[in-house]
Amino acid sequence: MPAARLGPSLPMVLAAAAPVIVAFALLPRIVDLYQTELLIYGLTFAIAALGFNLLLGYTGLLSFGHSAYFGMGAYTVAFIVRDLHVQSMELCILGGLLSTLVLSALFGYVCVRHTRIFFSILALALSQVVWSLAYKFFWVTGGTDGIRVPRTGVTLLAGLIDFKGSGSYQKFVYSYYYYVLVLFVVAAAVMWVIVHSPFGKALQAIRDNETRAGFVGIRVRRYRWIAFVISGCFTGLAGALWVPLNGLTTPEILYWPFSGEIVFMTVLGGFRTFTGPIVGAIAFNYLKVYAVASSQYWQLVLGCVLVVLVMVLPTGIVGTLARLAGKLRRR
């Protein structure tokens, strides 16, 4: 009798992931500098979307407040570089993760007491508190001007790689690409283990039927809180990686439309699959960049894409591809 498994086999996953990782490693040799930079943005957003999907796809909680954790990661790196004059990107990431851990633990403690629309609105409202602080306390945060984080102000691998002198922009983009790629692979591997762990299974049970989850002994609220904190930390890591690339962080990154963009990325790729948010984040980044470049009505373009997506591809890009592949296999 064939034994059903709780998850896919590890060799199969590695066999599927390895060519993709190799392809990403080779991409900067094929595409130009600008495209490489876009890929870095895509990969950082993919880390955020992976974290976000732990809540949406695996726990059944739709947060409209994840801009707060992305922004917290970004602003913490900016504060560390500007005020502490720390250049090590590793220390900056550590700081970003710690601050996001504290913020998501606090906000999560409040939010997970509610579900459905109440959870979503509460998450949104709390994120806007952070936005208004960044917006109003301009003597700390720089207000709408934000805080600059020049690429010359950071070093990678404990100072082994810096970006001073001529050709620094090119050096930064290529070095930072591989730096972000490695962190992305680590983040994706950690998230894969989490969602395939007994804890991940418990989250899926809570998503499916929270009453029954309680009746099999799962402490629903506590598990949701832990998921919220992990989700926040992944998003904070993405924010920390994003800010040296962007060179600047402003309150815009804390504002609610960016939370909507994280939702959009995840839905675009497909929130019921592990790889969906990754594909969605990279695709969304390209979509937005080219929509902005081609039309002043880019929000309208993105809105239309979202409408079409929900109506035609409700399971997202990866969900649809998986369904088509399943149909082909059955033939």
Partner: protein, 257 residues
């Protein structure tokens, strides 16, 4: 000492007395049926004991401890499990995952986020065994939502059973299934429950099922206990026959009008 004892347990819904001063004792390893007309308070009583509903007043004593104020998960850890009148399984998880999750929870492993669930050989073997016991081995890879009603009912019970409870409440485990499947489901449940020495309280409307499987029958009406006794005693109780069937007489429960 009784395994479970309720003392003056009350739960009202406005003017409706769903559970009204119920004093019920369940002995260890008993197979007790809870019967009564619709609205008698059977499910409400189970809901209060399993912490789905809070009581207005009264006490619930389990294994000599007052558990009245314990949460659902605390009562599960104490050894109380239940199935539901309306099937309550994890629809988007496979039958295998459903059962495995209950085992992970029982073993305190659900907090582990650094290990892969599908590499836990002990849990896999036990989950396979439970699915086999409940006749669901062939459906282990099917999602909860894709199972037939009878299979979903069995999975609901299997989930509760996988927690290795001391006391198992089964709320209408055969409702909504065909008469043909009913006997098979009850045979499976009875053999598993009796085989493991689990104390079971079952809510059931089918009196043939009740008389066949129960050690003791508790009859409820309007939130209170009307009568209790062995199947033979209940069969002969005219007040019970009148309440449940609207007719009485020596052969009320066997007469096919």
């Amino acid at each position: 000492m009784a395994l479970l004892q309720t003392v003056d347990l009350k739960r009202y819904f406005g003017e409706t007395r769903a559970v009204d001063n119920v004093n019920l004792a369940i002995e260890e390893r008993e197979f007790v049926s809870l019967v009564g007309p619709n609205g008698a308070g059977k499910t409400s009583l189970i809901n209060v004991i399993s912490a789905l509903l809070a009581p207005e007043s009264g006490k619930i004593i389990f294994k000599g401890e007052d558990i009245t104020h314990l949460s659902v998960t605390q009562r599960v850890k104490a050894g109380i499990a239940r199935s539901f009148q309306i099937v309550n399984v994890f629809d988007d998880l496979t039958a295998f995952d459903n059962v495995a999750l209950a085992i992970f929870s029982r073993e305190g492993k659900t907090a582990r986020l650094g290990t892969l669930a599908h590499l836990d050989g002990d849990v896999i073997r036990e989950a396979d065994g439970i699915l086999e016991q409940f006749g669901l081995a062939a459906k282990r890879g099917d999602n909860g939502r894709d199972l037939a009603q009878g299979e979903r009912k069995l999975l609901d019970v299997a989930l509760a059973y996988a927690l290795k409870p001391k006391l198992l409440f089964l709320d209408e485990p055969t409702s909504g299934v065909s008469t043909r499947d009913k006997g098979q489901i009850m045979d499976t449940i009875a053999s598993v429950v009796r085989g493991e020495g689990i104390t079971a309280v079952i809510v059931e409307h089918d009196m043939d099922v009740v008389f066949k499987y129960s050690d003791r029958i508790v009859v409820m009406a309007q939130g209170a206990i009307l009568a209790q006794g062995t199947p033979d005693e209940i069969r002969k109780n005219e007040q019970v026959a009148m309440t449940l069937l609207g007719t009485s007489g020596p052969d009320a429960f066997t007469r096919k009008d």
